[in-house]
Symmetry: none
Subunit: 158 residues, 4 copies
DNA sequence: TTTT
DNA sequence: TTTT
C-alpha cells in the first residue's frame, strides 16, 4: 500500500533504441530516452517549441517487451514514478544525482506501419545489439565514466 | 497546443518552508522540496518504506499562494511537468543537470487544523463538513430501485 | 498489456460510509460516493463552487482496506478506471446506464486524528512527522554551490 | 483555485466524427465518443479484450480544433474532468443521469498519414456536416428523445 | 461505434 | 537524440 503519490505520465518519441542489460541478479533492465515536445509562447508572444528529454528505466517483463518492440523514433505513452539516484563521480569522487522515470506501464502509440518498425520479427531480431552509441544523452549514466547500477538492491523493480 | 504529454502528479509532505525569490524580470518564483513515501517489499518479502525527494518550482500567482499558505510538513498534491536544466559547476566548469517539477496546480490536503499551519481559521471553518450530505447524489445506486451487480463476470476486479 | 489508457484520479471526501458486499463468487466489493469540489468563475466573474459526485467501486483486498479504514467525510485519493455498465429498469424494462470508477489505488489523506476515524492511534503516532528532516536531500539546490536560475527566459511560468 | 482533484486521462480511438453545435449563448461545443481498449485475463486465465466507451464534451476554442482535425477512428489523448448531468426523460418525466468527460486537453496521436485523414483542407471541409448518425451510442443524450443541454448555465466551458 |  |  502506498502512502503517497509519485506518478509520471509521458507521451513522446524515443530518442534512441532501448538498451537492454541483465543485472548480476538476473533481472532484465532496459533504458531509453524519451523526448516530449511542447509548444508555448515566449515573452514576445511568438510560438516556440520546447523539447524535454527524459531518462526511462524499465525492469523485468516490461523491459523485455520494450526491448523487443520499441525503437528510436517510436511514439509511446510511459507511466511510472520519479526516482533520483546518486553515484560517485569517478573523476573526483563527488556525489552526483540522476533523475529517472521508473516505468510501470507502456503503450505503443500510432500504428506500427507508420513507425517504420516493419514486421515484429524484424523488430525482435534487432533488439539487443543495436544500441551501441548512447554517447549523446546529457545524463551521466550513459557516459562511459558513469557506473550503471546493477547491484543496487534498492533499485529493484518495484 | 501541446504535442506531447509531460505530466507529474505527486502527493507528499514539504521538506522545508517554501523559499520565495523574485526574479530580475519581476516574476515570483517559489521552490520547495517534497517527500513522497511508498511502501514496497524487498527481496526477502519484508515491507520497506522508500522516501523520494522532489524539487518543486512554482511561478507567478501560484508561487505567491504557495509562499503564503504552505510550510514544512504540510501535505499537498502537486501537478506539473518535468524539466531538466543544466548549470555549470563553479568548481570545475563541468555541466551539471538538475531535474525539477514545474508546478502548475497545487492542492493543500488534510485540514489546516492538523497541519499547524498559519491563518487557518477560515479554512478550518469551512473545510469538508459541507460535503457530507450526499442526499442529492444523482446516481441510481442510491435509489432502492437500482439492482447492484453482483454476479457479473465481466465486472471482476482487474 | 493494455492497448489504451483509461485512468481517473480523484481527490475528495466520502459522502457516505463504504458499503461492503461479498459477491456470490466470494469476491469482496465495496462502494462509496466521493465528492470533488472545484472553484470556478461564473459568467459574471463571480467565484462559484461546484461539487461533483462520483460512484466508486473497489474489489478484493483493497475493498477490505476501504471498508476497514474509510468513513464518511474522510479525504482520500482514488485512482481507477471508468466503467459504464447497463441494467434494466425494473419499472419499465428500459436500459439504463451507470458510470463508475473501478478503484485500483487509494490513499488516505490528512491525518487520522483530524478525520475522527476509528483506530487511528497507530496512524497518528507515525504520520508525517518523520518526513520533516530532509537533511539527506540529494539534490544540488540545497547545496550552497549551486546557482539558481533567475534570468533564464526560457524558464518562464508556462 | 481548485479544492480537490477530478481528472480523467484517456487514450483511445474516436467512435464517430465529432459533432459540433453552437449553443444559444454562442459557445462552440463538440461531442464525440471515445473507445478505450484493454486486455485482461478472465476467470479461466484467457486473455480477453474489453472496450469501454466514453462520451467526450469539448468547449470553446478546443472544440473548434477537435471539429476541424479529428474524425472517426483517429487515436487521441484526452484529458478532462468527470461531470454527471441530469435531464428529464420526456417519456415519463423521470430523472436520468449521463456522465461525460469535459475535455480540457487533447493530443492527436500517431501521424496524420496513418490516420487516413488526408490533407487538413479536406478535414476542415467536412467538419460540421458529416455527423448525422449518432443513433448508436448507448447514452441517452444522443437519442432523439434526449434534450441536449444548450442553455444550461452550469455547463459552461470551465 | 474505434483500434490492433 | 525524437516527432510534426
Amino acid at each position: 500500500m502506498a502512502k503517497g503519490l509519485n506518478k509520471v505520465m509521458l507521451i513522446g518519441h524515443l530518442g534512441n533504441d532501448p538498451e537492454m542489460k541483465v543485472t548480476t541478479s538476473g533481472q532484465s533492465r532496459v533504458t531509453f530516452t524519451l523526448a516530449t515536445n511542447e509548444n508555448f509562447k515566449d515573452n514576445n508572444g511568438n510560438l516556440q517549441e520546447r523539447t524535454e528529454w527524459h531518462r526511462i528505466v524499465v525492469w523485468a517483463k516490461l523491459a523485455e517487451i520494450c526491448s523487443q518492440y520499441l525503437k528510436k523514433g517510436r511514439q509511446v505513452y510511459v507511466e511510472g514514478r520519479l526516482q533520483t539516484r546518486s553515484w560517485d563521480d569517478p573523476k573526483n569522487g563527488e556525489k552526483r544525482y540522476t533523475t529517472e522515470i521508473v516505468c510501470s506501464d507502456m503503450q505503443m502509440l500510432g500504428g506500427a506501419r507508420e513507425q517504420g518498425g516493419g514486421t515484429s520479427s524484424e523488430s525482435s531480431s534487432q533488439g539487443y545489439e543495436r544500441q551501441q552509441s548512447p554517447h549523446d544523452y546529457p545524463s551521466p549514466p550513459t557516459h562511459p565514466s558513469v557506473p550503471m547500477l546493477e547491484n543496487d538492491k534498492d533499485d529493484l523493480p518495484f
